[in-house]
Amino acid sequence: MAKQVVKLNKVVIRFAGDSGDGMQLTGDRFTSETAGLGNDLSTLPDFPAEIRAPAGTLPGVSAFQLHFADHDIMTPGDAPNVLVAMNPAALKANLHDLPRGADLIVNTDEFTKRNLEKVGYAANPIEDGSLDAYNVHAVALTSMTVEALKGFEMSKKDAERAKNMYALGLLCWLYNRPSEGTLSFLRAKFAKKPVIMEANIAAYEAGWSFGETTEAFSVQYEIAPAPMKAGVYRNITGNPAISLGLVAASKLSGLPLFLGSYPITPASDILHELSKHKRFGVMTFQAEDEIAGIGSAIGAAYGGALAVTTTSGPGVALKSEAIGLAVSLELPLLIIDVQRGGPSTGLPTKTEQSDLLQAMFGRNGEAPVAIIAPQSPSDCFFATIEAARIAVEYRTPVFLLSDGYLANGSEPWLVPNVESLPTFEPNFATGPNHTAEDGTESFWPYLRDPETLARPWAKPGTKGLEHRIGGIEKADGIGTISYDPANHDKMVRLRQAKIDAIARTIPDVEVDDPSGEARVLILGWGSTFGPIGAACRLVRAEGQQVAQAHIRHLNPFPSNLGDVLKAYDKVIVPEMNLGQLALLLRAKYLVDVVSYNQVRGMPFKSDELAGVISDVLESL
């Protein structure tokens, strides 16, 4: 039966099920096929912190949202057009995000009395009319999967586990996605378990043919590829992009890469990824705790490596004293903080931007560091290289503030040509740099470069450079212990001046204002780039004017930032915290920015931000 084919320009699908239902894998595979088709896309996984919360309960629901389109998009979408709910808990947890008229695919097999009771449904919503506002496709996914796998030598329970592949097959049919990638993925994943492999393939194919033959789905959709710049593309999430950025930075600087890290959500994937790249000479060290993670990195930096420690907010708190040591030693060091909801353990798997002030000020004494924040999953790659450049050129710890949304969200990435990436030099000290009046030559570890104010990086093993330094205040230049008040005052100011000097090498912040007439600027940092950009499009589509700017360098700020802020009647600063950048902007530029905040553990929705912009525009 040939079905009607409807062309769409964009779709937002959300897969939701139990943590054990394999929703993340289903979403990843659908994303991969969608990327291969050339759609632009953006994804948002949302999973619980517990590895397996009790089955069928609300806290155990795991979801994956994917937005794909025939044009350039900036967010994973505010609300799904299609919700796949594998059980009543998944329905209940996600239904409130589903607009009326949206498609709802439910796995009827799981809507048993017991499962309904678990989440407080008195009656079956599929039957009691409460879903009448939606276009419901009631599909017995589990039993049809079991039916399709009848010939396989496996328990019913094992057969049921393939239901996510059945659902994936159905959705791939519905949106006309190719199958080859998923099939070869399954072949590789289960190479050692041929029965499981065949069963998953059979379930996938059964789902596909079900779509084709059933009358439950009368139309099939097509979304044309988005126009994109020519080149080689891949799909990428933030954590792997950071890992690749680190390997690239190591090559670009000629420095061996050393990672000292302690496992923590949502940063551990960087440790996992880098530990696979030993052939690049990458050294990964899983330390006994967060402090040893950074401690070992400081040791490696002292020895001349490109040294990195990766963590999330609570880990940064533990590393604070060691970061202060690195500030005092003036050694290159990358501190990668994949932010999550806080304080304390907070929301380990949810996103937040609330470590900005911790990165900025969370140490004893005056201990300035450089801070960089990537704005999208693929930008994590370039931001990491930039952070490494600053660390190496200025001999300073640099914070890279990613977050849970960037870490796990994905987008297509135009893979750069290695030749096009910037190189940077460690310029290690090679000999004495100071001559005394009597002509004796010696090495002064704190004699600074007049331009950058960076001190020499003197690797052990270099003849004639033997010297002793530590966390105690050092005499300017010679670097020996000094308790002299005037010297300390000078050193504190020099360390600050060195960080300030970085501003000379960073680009001005660019303002996007198509009309050139906007009176309101919306300014963000980090992962809010997509939602803010999408909100600006919505506002402009209504014929209103708004300017957008996004800052990547949070310390020091770009040199022109003050002028940019002062050029607008109002500046809106949306943040997933209670106004941390806003605080810094007000303090530094005396501009009373409008701070807009939410800390729900999820990215901003673009229509929410569009509303904020409109409200401010109306108030002018």
Binding site: V232, R279, G295, S296, G299, N417, G461, K463
Partner: protein
């Protein structure tokens, strides 16, 4: 010295000039209290380093915080005075990434066993190529006299006017419990013994823990005096020598033997006969006997205190294993190509 004397240092560049203790003295004025045991240790180390025959610039001393941690400032090598308790972690990163360095950690009883206890035990189990010298004076010196994790229970100090309540650590037992591959104890004032132990530690591949009984004459004077006093020391202290019977006492009348119940104890040689006295085996794979020896000492009276090398066994060091892993992966897969890494496995073309 030939390279063979220090198998752990084969990857560290050698010097071709003759060095003396003077070459290892930095221009910094030493600032410990007059009479502090640290002076003797410093001078022993300065005198010993030339024996290694290493290029000076390839030696690094890393320390934490405390009186002893000022040590690196006084040596004309590379030196890093870090933060409280973290020296083993920092040295781990350095030694792991730089096999061409001889890395030493200087720490104290508070630094290593209190605030830095976690790093210490993990460095020991990992067996990174580091030599840790733990100066044990059973007191906090730099903060002016609080009891430390090695202070005897009941110690009266500024923070424990009625006597300390916590039970003390025995650093050697702790290290053996962590299955350290090299564990030794020596005394600041016994230059000869100290030097011998340092030599054995330097020759060892992996982490070596050397506990040095050190006198803090300001806040805990005489803590180890019974082990130094000519009249008492031979009665109290046993010197462990690999392959030799464990005997001590002025006339060697005491020894260590295994009891019928299985434990080891100090006995009169005359009572049990010479054949019953245990022969010290520092190379025994099982740390059990070394641990048992470490438990003989009475922390209060210092009776039956063993010094010398308790354990010295071979287990590949962490940094060597890491290097070998990198080499074998590179050999198997070839060196990495950045462009193909960036491309990944799943790309598509837009033209």
């Amino acid at each position: 010295m030939t390279t063979d004397a220090y198998p752990a240092l084969t990857l560290v560049p050698k010097t071709d000039v003759k060095q003396s203790a003077k070459d290892f003295k930095s221009d910094q004025e030493v600032r410990w209290c007059p009479g502090c045991g640290d002076y003797a240790i410093l001078s022993a180390v300065q005198a010993f380093l030339p024996d290694l025959g290493l290029a000076k610039e390839n030696i690094v001393f890393v320390s934490g915080i405390g009186c002893s941690s000022r040590f690196p400032y006084y040596l004309d090598t590379f030196g890093l005075h870090s933060i409280h308790g973290r020296a083993p972690a920092i040295a781990t990163g350095l030694a792991t990434s730089r096999p061409d360095l001889s890395v030493w950690v200087i720490t104290g009883d508070g630094d290593a066993l209190s605030i830095g206890g976690n790093h210490l035990i993990h460095a020991l189990r990992r067996n990174v190529n580091l030599k840790i010298l733990l100066f044990n004076n059973r007191i906090y010196g730099l903060t002016k006299g609080q009891y430390s994790p090695t202070s005897e229970q009941g110690k009266i100090t500024k923070s424990t006017p009625e006597g300390s309540l916590d039970y003390s650590f025995n650093p050697v037992s702790l290290a053996l419990g962590a299955e350290a591959t090299f564990v030794a104890r020596t005394i600041d004032s016994d230059r000869k013994h100290l030097t011998e132990v340092l030599r054995a530690a330097a020759a060892h591949e992996g982490t070596a823990l050397v506990e040095i009984y050190q006198n803090c004459n300001i806040f805990n004077d005489g803590a180890w005096e019974p082990l130094k006093d000519n009249d008492t020391r031979d009665d109290l202290m046993m010197r462990l020598t690999h392959g030799e019977p464990i005997r001590f006492g002025k006339d060697g009348e005491k020894g260590v033997a295994r009891m019928p119940e299985g434990h080891v104890a100090v006995v009169n040689v005359a009572d049990v006969g010479e054949d019953a006295i245990l022969i010290h085996d520092a190379h025994a794979k099982d740390p059990g006997l070394a641990f048992a020896l470490s438990r003989l000492a009475n922390p209060r009276t210092l009776e039956n205190t063993p010094i010398g090398v308790f354990r010295d066994i071979h287990r590949p060091s962490y940094d060597r294993l890491l290097r070998e892993q990198i080499e074998s992966v590179t050999e198997r897969l070839g060196g990495g190509d950045l462009q193909s890494l960036l491309n990944g496995k799943d790309t598509w073309n837009v033209s």
